[in-house]
């Protein structure tokens, strides 16, 4: 299991909460060659992402390796409150997972 792969931020401003996430992940296509060995680097990419607010789903996403290495993602929602818990989880095609949780801040 991956650990500490997610940098997550949730900021409340003018009635909107903006969630920003930066995930450490290779997002390998499977068609890139290792420069030293000349062998193909196996595909490894995040397939599923879920973001919850106080345990309730806000956003889910399905990705391919068309998302850049070290994925970045941001979105906004109405009605969040300072201190609400925002949790992001991801799972990749090899079954690796990670989660992170933060409080909504000002």
């Amino acid at each position: 299991m991956a650990t500490n792969s997610i940098r997550l931020q949730a900021k409340f401003k003018d009635g909107l909460t903006e969630v920003k996430a930066l995930i450490n992940h290779p997002m390998e296509t499977g068609s890139r060659k290792d420069l030293k060995s000349g062998k193909l680097i196996p595909a490894q990419y995040i397939e599923d992402v879920a973001v919850l607010s106080n345990g309730k789903p806000l956003l889910t996403a399905v990705w391919s390796f068309g998302i850049s290495k070290n994925p970045y993602c941001a979105f906004q929602f109405k009605g969040g409150k300072i201190g609400d818990k925002i949790k992001l989880s991801w799972k990749d095609n090899l079954g690796e997972t990670d989660s992170a949780e933060v409080d909504i801040k000002e």
Binding site: T29, S64, S89
Partner: protein, 155 residues
Amino acid sequence: MTNLPRRSFLKGTLATGAAAVAATVLPFSAMADWPKAAFEAKTVEDAIMALLGSPDTVVSTAITIEVPEIAENGAVVPVKVSSTLPKVESITLISEKNPVPLVAQFKFESDAVQPFIATRIKMSETSNVVAVLKSEGKLYVARKEVKVTIGGCGG
């Protein structure tokens, strides 16, 4: 590398990926099933059909795609999509000429989520970025071209 072995290889890896998903218990029930067929589609139309269940899209000026006009590095192309359409259920991003055109689908699971998404995608060559939004059961589409100097998909 020519296109053919690469494509068959992609097919192989996608199949393996799906098998891995089947063998794994999803850690969080909120996660969607990964739409394998849509990610295997080779054209924009096939991807939209496989993912969203209909090929019928309406070109909409209510969708704004923010992308750089020229991307020197196709491996990292910033994309922002926003819209004034009501009740947007999902935003789908497609890079027209990628070996796997479908890049991502973001589903809004709550009415509170605004019709906006920002991310970074890979583009193998100069082409349109296509955004498909589902709003009140209909599919709306917008396209914007990015000139790619160095492709960012393969090796």
